[in-house]
Amino acid sequence: MSLSSALSIAQSALLATSRRTSVVTQNVTNADNADYARRSAVLISDQSGVRVSEIYRAANDSLLRQYLNANSAWEGQQTMLAGLNSLSLAVNGQSNATSPAAAIGDMQEALQLYAAAPSSSSLADGVVNAARVLVQTLNNGTNQIQAYRSELDLEISRSVVDLNSLLADFHAANKAVVKATAIGGDATDALDKRDAILKEISQYIPVSTQTRDNNDMVITTADGVTLYETSPRNVSFEPTSFYAAGVEGNSVYIDGVPVKTGTGKLAAMVELRDEVAVTMQTQLDEIARGLVTAFAESDPAGIGPDVAGLFTWSGAPAIPGALEGGLANSIKINAAYDPDAGGNPVLLRDGNTYDANPDDNAAFTDLLVSFGNNLDASMTFDPSTGVNTSSNLGSFATNTISWIEALRQTTSNSEGNSSALLARVTETLSSATGVNVDDQMALLLELEQAYEASARLISTIDEMMSILLEMAG
C-alpha cells in the first residue's frame, strides 16, 4: 500500500491546492465587488489524503440586517431632504426672495406709501401691482406644489414597478439558492445575487428577513407585512394623473396592506406627497384667506354683508370664514381695481361695493388705514397649517418659512447621522465579508509553497519507484 498510496495522497494535495488557488483567484478578482462575500475552501483529511469538502462563504447575517436598516433609513431621509429642498425652492424661491412673506412685505410698504399720499393715482397703481405680484406668488406656489405632487406620484409609480421587478428577480435568486442548497450544490453565487437584490429592495422599503429550511428566505416589511414568502407578493399602486389642492393621492399597497409612513424611499415619497406638500398648500390657502379677509369691504352703514375687495376668489363676493382648499389657486385681483383690466385702482381709497368716500375727498385715508390695520391685526389660522395659529398675516407668512426651514434642518441633521451610520455599517460589513487583497496574496504565497512541496513529494516517490524498477531490470 505504501508507495502507491503515498503517490495518491500527494496527488490529492495537489488537487486541493489548485482548488484553493482558484478560490483565492476568485476572491481577488472580486475584491472591488461590494456584493461579493469572501469565499474560503474548507479542507478535510481522509484516508486517501485531503480534499476540499465545501466552499465557505463569509456571510454575516446580523451585519447585513444592520446594513439593510441603515440603507432604508438613509434612502428615506435623503429623499425627504431633496423633496423639502425642491419644495422650499419652488414656493419661496432662492433665499426666500419670492416667498409670500416677502410679497406681503412689499404690499404693506406700497399701502403705507399710498396711505401717506392718497391723492396719487400712481401710488394706487403701485399697491395694485404689489397685490398682483402677491397673487402670482400664491398661484405659482400652488401650481408648483401640485406639480411636485404629480411628479412624486409618478416617481412612486416608477418605484412600485421597480420594486415588483426586484421581487421577481429575488424570486429567481431565492429559487436558485434553495435548489442548490437542497441538492448540496454550490449556492454561493446565488446567495451573493440574492443579498445584492435584498440591498436594492431595502432602498425602497425597510425589510426584515427570516430564513427557513434549505436557505429559503422570507421577507417582511418592518411592519410585518409579507413581501416575499415562497412567491413575491404584489405591490400595487394606482397613479393619480392630475393633482389639485384637496386631491388625495392613492396609497401604495403591499399584499393588500397600505404602506405606512416609516423609513425607506417609498414611505418618504408618500409622506412628502400626502403630508408636507399638503401642509404647505394649506399654509398658502390660509395666507390667501388672510388677504381676502384683510381687504374685505364692509358696509359703512352696517347693513350689507362684508364682501371681497381687492382680492377676490372663486366664491366671491362672500368672505371665506375658515380654511378653503385651493384658495391660493383661485385668488385673483378684483378686475374693478385692475387698470390692466380696465379697472380703477383708486377704488382702493374710496371703496368699490360700498362707497366709503362719497365726496371723493382726495385726502381720504380711513379705508387705506383700516386695510393696513387689518394686515397687522391678529388672525386665527387653521391648526392643520402646523404653525402658530394666532398671529398677524405677515408673521404667519414668515412662520411658514420657519416651519419648512426647521423641518429641513431636522431632516438634514438626521440625514447626516444616518449617512454616517450607513458609511460605518458598510465599512464593517465590507471588512467582515469582503476581500482583503493582502490576506489573499499572503495565502497565495502559502499555497504556492504547499504546491511545490507536494510536487516535490511526487517526484521523490517517482525516484523511489525508478530505483525499484532498475533493480527489477
Binding site: 495518491s8 434553495v178 533493480m471
Partner: protein, 419 residues
C-alpha cells in the same frame, strides 16, 4: 532416484515461482482497476516419506493462490454521483446480461440507454424498489432484487396538509368593533394586522391565503383566512367567497401566551385539508412581529433535477424544489469468508463452496459498511510491493533452475562413468 527427484523438485520450484510471477503480472496490470483485489501465492511444502534415515528424497512445493478480497482499497473521490464506493464490509449485488447474480466492489456505475446503472465491466446494479412500500432485505437470497432504473420519472406535486405560523400580536392594539371585522367580509373591513402564506393545491398550484388578525376584545383576537384570488384588487375586501376559516385566539393575560384556538383547519380551494398550527403565537406589548419560520409542507409541480445516493444505500430522486423521493435501496451482500470467493472476469466474485452462503443486508446495518456516493474504491495493489515480489521471484526462479541444472550436470557425470 534422488538425482531425478532433485531435478523434479527444481521444476516444481520453478513452476511455483512462475505462478507467483503470474499473479504479480496480473496485479501490476490491474493496479489501476477499480475494485480489483490483489492476488498472491502461498507456498506449502511437499515432503516425500523417507525410506530410511540415511537417505533423502526431495519433495517439492505446492502453490495456493490467495486473493485479498477483504482488504479495503483506497477511496478516491470523483465528480459523478453514480460512482459508488463501499467503506467497510460488503459487496454490491450485480447481474450480467444473462441474469446471473454476482458480487462486486467496482462501483463505477453509469446510466445505460434504459436508465439502468451499469458498471465498467457491464454488470447491472441490483436494488430493492420503493414502488411497493419500504423494502426489506431477504437475508439469504437474491429474491426481490431488480435492476436499479432511474429514467423517465414523472413530475410530481404534493398538496399542502400542514403548516405553522407564529407572530407576536400587539397587545396595545385598538379593539375593532363588530360589524366591520374581516369575518363580516364587507368593503372596508378593519383589521389589526395581516399576513399571507402560500399553500399548494392538489395540482401543485400556488394558493395565496390572506390571514387577518383582528383584536375583538382584550386578549381575544379573531383570525380570518381568505383566498387572495377572490379578493377585490388592492384592498382585498370584500372577497367574492366567504372566509375559508375563522377562529378566535385567546391569550393568557398573565404571560401573553396563547391560551386557546391554536390550530386552524381549512379546506384549500382545489386542495387538501390544511392544518395551520398557530400555537406559538404571543400577545406581548410590542409591535406586530412575524416569527422566525413560517412553514408549509407540499410542493409545486417540479421535475427531477438529479439523484442522490445516501450512505445507507437509499437512492433518492431530487426534485428541483429540493424535495427528495426514495426510489431504491441498494443492499450489500457478504459471505462468511470473502477471501474464498471465486474470482471472475470483470472484478466480480461468486459464491464458492468454501466461502459460505451469501447474506444480504443494508449498508450501515450490522457489519455492513457504508456507501459513499461520488467516490470509487481503487485497486488494493501496491506497485512497490509487487515489484519487490517480482525481483524476489526472479531470483528464486533462477536458484531453482540452478538446482535443475546441477541435477542435469550430475546425471551427465553419471552417464559418462561408462564409456
Amino acid at each position: 532416484m534422488s538425482l531425478y527427484g532433485m531435478m523434479r523438485t527444481g521444476v516444481s520450484g520453478m513452476q511455483g515461482q512462475s505462478n507467483r510471477l503470474g499473479t504479480v503480472a496480473d496485479n501490476i496490470a490491474n493496479s489501476s482497476t477499480t475494485g480489483y483485489k490483489r492476488s498472491s501465492v502461498e507456498f506449502s511444502s511437499l515432503i516425500v516419506p523417507q525410506a530410511g534415515s540415511g537417505s533423502y528424497s526431495s519433495g517439492g512445493v505446492a502453490t495456493t493462490v490467495r486473493t485479498s478480497i477483504s482488504q479495503q482499497g483506497n477511496i478516491q473521490y470523483t465528480t459523478s454521483a453514480t460512482d459508488l464506493a463501499i467503506s467497510g464490509e460488503g459487496f454490491f449485488t450485480v447481474q450480467d446480461a444473462s441474469g446471473q447474480t454476482f458480487l462486486t466492489r467496482a462501483g463505477s456505475f453509469v446510466l445505460d440507454d434504459q436508465g439502468r446503472l451499469v458498471n465498467a465491466a457491464g454488470f447491472y446494479l441490483q436494488g430493492y424498489s420503493f414502488a411497493n412500500g419500504t423494502p426489506s432485505a431477504a437475508a439469504n437470497s437474491f429474491a426481490g432484487l431488480e435492476a436499479v432504473k432511474i429514467a423517465n420519472l414523472p413530475m410530481t406535486a404534493t398538496p399542502s396538509t400542514e403548516g405553522s405560523y407564529s407572530a407576536n400580536l400587539p397587545a396595545a392594539a385598538d379593539i375593532v368593533a363588530a360589524g366591520s371585522l374581516p369575518s363580516d367580509n364587507v368593503a372596508g373591513s378593519t383589521y389589526t394586522n395581516k399576513t399571507s402564506l402560500v399553500v399548494y393545491d392538489n395540482l401543485g398550484g400556488e394558493v395565496l391565503l390572506d390571514i387577518y388578525f383582528t383584536k375583538t376584545a382584550a386578549n381575544t383576537w379573531e383570525v380570518a383566512v381568505y383566498n387572495q384570488a377572490d379578493g377585490t384588487a388592492g384592498t382585498g375586501f370584500p372577497y367574492s367567497s366567504p372566509a375559508l376559516a375563522t377562529q378566535s385566539l385567546t391569550f393568557d393575560p398573565a404571560n401573553g401566551q396563547l391560551a386557546g384556538g391554536g390550530t386552524i383547519s381549512l379546506a384549500v380551494p382545489g386542495g387538501a385539508t390544511f392544518q395551520l398550527d398557530m400555537s406559538e403565537m404571543t400577545q406581548l406589548a410590542t409591535d406586530f412581529t412575524p416569527g422566525s419560520d413560517p412553514k408549509v409542507n407540499g410542493n409545486a409541480a417540479s421535475s427531477v433535477a438529479g439523484y442522490e445516493i445516501a450512505a445507507d444505500g437509499t437512492l433518492y430522486a431530487q426534485y428541483d424544489n429540493g424535495t427528495l423521493a426514495a426510489l431504491y435501496r441498494i443492499p450489500l451482500a457478504t459471505v462468511t469468508s470473502p477471501d474464498q470467493l471465486n474470482v471472475l472476469s470483470g472484478n466480480v466474485f461468486s459464491q464458492s463452496a468454501l466461502s459460505g452462503d451469501v447474506t444480504l443486508g443494508f449498508p450501515q446495518e450490522g457489519a455492513f459498511g457504508k456507501i459513499t456516493s461520488g467516490a470509487l474504491e481503487a485497486s488494493n495493489v501496491d506497485i512497490g510491493e509487487e515489484l519487490t515480489a517480482m525481483i524476489e521471484s526472479q531470483r528464486n526462479y533462477t536458484a531453482n533452475s540452478k538446482v535443475f541444472q546441477t541435477g542435469s550436470e550430475l546425471l551427465d557425470v553419471l552417464v559418462n562413468l561408462k564409456r
